[in-house]
């Protein structure tokens, strides 16, 4: 009959077991969390990982051609861990989209973050007509007639391309400036403390926030560059951050409009939006417009 409290002897026993367990488990759990794992020969080794953020659902992630997981509505981010420090070929694919590939170096106890982008292979370009047919009701009758009227969207887009605004002037000033003067960074070419500059057909990105919060795509392991060249070519007309992504830059040349990434680790991916002599604008709502031959305008649907 148990009518006495737990004996001190038993309590000391349980306490001792817990104390011993604590001293055994704590370093094991801490080492596990740090990335220590058993190797093939049961040796303890340090591992690393990679963190891949896909842009939408149904993208496949392959590491050294080994399929990992596919993204879904609920899960766009993958942590691939417990991998030996080495260089891996990472590929993100989806039918109908361009592939994104990169050589990713995995360091011990570190996780390499990657933000792949995959543009559609065929871009849906919707031409914006100059005029539209609007219904008009004649006086005294119920007969429906149509009248050709000016398309408001056309006017809006045309203004985007041709209006000489303060913004345009500032962009030009910025582009013509050969040295980085961050205080003059304009709202158009800079966003979230990132500035894009096009100097003599070379595109630079620059971080002008504090060093502690510099985005990882400016860094390789512990080395970070606050300013770096991301593309050098011919006849670069215009460059901007791409839509809502701060790690992607859209630029136009005589050959076409392209998107490239700031992250230069393991090679930069460059994917074309459209080939040919086009100009582009992105409005404040984040819609991409293209211009061909000074008179034809397109709205681009990049939704995947």
């Amino acid at each position: 009959m148990e009518s006495k409290p737990l004996s001190k002897r038993k309590r000391y026993f349980y306490l001792s077991v817990c104390v011993i367990a604590f001293f055994i488990l704590s370093p094991i759990v801490a080492m596990y969390a740090t990335g220590y794992r058993f190797g093939d020969k049961y040796e303890v080794m340090k591992t690393g990982g990679m963190y891949i953020v896909t842009q939408a659902k149904d993208f496949n992630v392959l590491v050294d051609n080994v399929p990992q997981k596919s993204s879904s509505i609920f899960r766009r981010n993958f942590l691939v861990q417990d991998i030996k420090p080495n260089t891996y070929d990472v590929k993100v694919t989806k039918d109908g989209f361009m592939s994104w590939t990169k050589k990713v170096v995995v360091y011990p106890e570190k996780v390499n973050e990657m933000y792949p982008f995959n543009l559609p292979e065929t871009i849906d370009m919707i031409e914006i007509p100059k005029t539209v047919m609007s219904p008009v009701f004649s006086n005294g009758t119920t007969t429906l007639k149509k009248k050709e009227t000016e398309n408001k969207e056309f006017v809006y887009v045309k203004n985007l391309f041709f209006a000489t605004t303060t913004k345009d002037v500032l962009i030009k000033n910025k582009i013509s400036n050969t040295t980085s003067t961050l205080d003059q960074a304009t709202s158009t070419v800079s966003r979230k403390k990132i500035a894009i500059e096009n100097i003599a057909n070379e595109i630079f990105v620059e971080w002008f926030g504090d060093e502690d919060s510099i985005p990882l795509y400016f860094c390789d392991l512990d080395k970070c560059l606050k300013r770096m060249s991301i593309y050098k070519g011919e006849n670069i007309n215009r460059s901007e951050l791409f839509l809502d992504r701060n790690d992607l830059v859209i630029f136009s040349t005589k050959d076409g409009i392209y998107v490239t990434e700031t992250d230069g680790r393991g090679g930069r991916n460059i994917q074309p939006i459209v080939m040919g002599d086009y100009d582009f604008r992105i409005d404040e709502d984040g819609t991409l417009y293209l211009k061909k031959d000074d008179k034809t305008f397109y709205r681009v649907d990049l939704k995947s």
Partner: protein, 510 residues
């Protein structure tokens, strides 16, 4: 009173002292709150500046937490079996073999504005107990401040029960007594003295033969409570040097109380059950008992502070130079879980009740100050008691916050460099998994809850029983909102000298 008491025995707060005594006591009042806030500040500070070391600390702390949970679960399991056993014992038969005719029980039932139903249920429970009611002296202790309605209930009960018990006394604690804080402590201290004069002295009962049960008005004694208490009193070699602690169940209205209230109440029960297996860490809590002699020798409960239930133990411990302890009797008394007219009011009441319980940290300055003044208490006892109290209140207000909320802090504010480490990625998952493992213990909690539940009342559907199990999913919310935060608030109030008054938990029955 036949004992010369220390002038510091009944200190309520620093403002009652002067000179260096004031400075020391005030510093000790600041201690619990400052420890808690320094801990939380350090977690933020180190998460920002030393995220790697902080992550290791959090992982180690999580391992400590899960092992502590296992360790305490062993105690809970043992006490669960002990309470079960004690409930099955025929205690009356046990004391029949002893000489116990001289023992009388003085039952103090303080009330304020509780309903007639609540008051009467406690009285009828005394009658239902397997104990001769003529050996029970019942004191219904009302407050003048509560007004006529409360007074009328008292008079009605007196009229109804005065001839049934060995003695029945209705006391009215006067309001606005200088130096008193309105509350349970001042009410039952007054009631005990009235009982001494009007019952014990009148009937020439020896104080050594009287066991006082200081109940709340909703306390319902289980059938064999008085037999069990008497047995424990009689077999103890020094019954005047101990208090007796039953296990507080909150079963009176458990089927009507909302889930969060049930979890909060049952968690308190579990904590008391665990403490029953660690008597050296146990102080009296809520309904408790002791000899009238011991109580009389120190002039009853303190009248100038909130936590009279635990303070009376420390009063006795210090007055007896450390030669005083709590005997866990592992036999239940039942009380009300928090319940008010609406869920919101109930939740507010739970918070306020736990804040009042958390204000038990006012014992820390009291204990340490009296330990400094009293040179007769062995140093080991002083050290042990101080550590248990300080660690207990520190854990109450900080550990759940560190475990359930701040575990992610290094990931959030640790900076870019730290965020590229495997450690940063694993920290949330490792702590989550450890916590989930610790939460598996809740299955055991659910099982214990079911086994001590009173029968489901007629008209209550079966799914209510399922909810008694599922309610434990609310435990993390409960431990933060109704334990850590009110604990932190009460410690902060004490730290800032914003002293709390006694708050009467409303008792509502459906």
């Amino acid at each position: 009173m036949n004992k010369k008491l220390s002038p510091y025995l009944k200190i309520g707060r620093a403002t009652e002292l002067s000179g260096s005594d004031y400075v020391i006591y005030r510093a000790l009042e600041i201690l619990p709150g400052s420890l808690a806030w320094i801990t939380l500040f350090l977690v933020f500070y180190s998460s920002y500046f030393y995220p790697v070391y902080t992550s290791y600390f959090i992982i180690t702390f999580s391992v400590y937490w899960i092992l502590k949970t296992i360790y305490l679960s062993v105690h809970l399991r043992h006490n669960f079996k002990r309470v079960k056993t004690n409930l099955s014992i025929n205690w009356k038969e046990r004391i029949e073999h002893m000489k116990y005719d001289h023992i009388r029980h003085l039952v103090l039932l303080p009330y304020f504005n509780e309903s007639e139903e609540v008051v009467e249920k406690s009285l009828t429970a005394l009658l239902d107990a397997h104990y001769d009611p003529k050996k029970l002296f019942v004191v219904l202790a009302s407050e003048e401040k509560a007004g006529k309605e409360a007074s009328d209930i008292g008079k009605k009960m007196e009229e109804k029960y005065k001839d049934i018990f060995g003695a029945f006394l209705l006391t009215v604690h006067p309001k606005n007594i200088l130096g008193e804080m309105p509350g349970k402590g001042s009410n039952i201290a007054y009631a005990a003295e009235e009982a001494r004069l009007k019952i014990l002295n009148k009937l020439s009962i020896k104080y050594e033969d009287v066991i006082v049960s200081a109940f709340d008005i909703d306390s319902v004694a289980y059938k064999d409570y008085f037999n069990c208490l008497t047995w424990n009193f009689l077999i103890h070699p020094t019954p005047l040097k101990v208090s007796f602690q039953p296990v507080p169940f909150y079963n009176n209205n458990i089927w009507d109380a909302p889930a969060l209230s049930r979890v909060a109440a049952t968690s308190s029960t579990f904590w008391q059950m665990i403490q029953q297996e660690r008597p050296e860490k146990l102080a009296t809590f809520s309904s408790h008992a002791m000899s009238f002699k011991a109580l009389y020798d120190i002039n009853y409960w303190q009248v100038n502070m909130v936590s009279e239930d635990s303070r009376i133990y420390w009063n006795l411990f210090i007055a007896n130079d450390g030669n005083y302890e709590v005997v866990p009797i592992s036999y239940p008394v039942s009380m009300d879980a928090n319940l008010d007219v609406s869920i919101l009011k109930t939740l507010v009441n739970i918070y306020k009740q736990h804040r009042r319980w958390g204000y038990g940290c006012e014992n820390i300055p009291y204990i340490i100050f009296n330990f400094i003044k009293n040179k007769n208490i062995p140093f080991g006892k002083k050290l042990s008691a101080t550590f248990v109290q300080v660690e207990g209140f520190w854990s109450l207000s900080t550990n759940p916050l560190i475990i359930f909320l701040l575990g992610w802090l290094p990931v959030i504010i640790g900076g870019t460099h730290f965020n590229t480490s495997v450690l940063s990625y694993n920290l949330p998952f490792v702590t989550r998994d450890l916590m989930l493992m610790a939460m598996l213990g809740l299955i055991f909690s659910a099982w214990i809850t079911l086994s001590f539940l009173p029968p489901r009342p007629n008209g209550y559907k079966k799914h209510r029983t399922a909810f008694m199990v599922l309610q434990w999913l609310l435990f993390p919310i409960n431990v933060i909102i109704f334990s850590a935060i009110p604990g932190l608030e009460s410690q902060t109030r004490l730290m800032l000298g914003k002293y709390m008054g006694f708050w009467v938990t409303p008792k509502h029955r459906k």
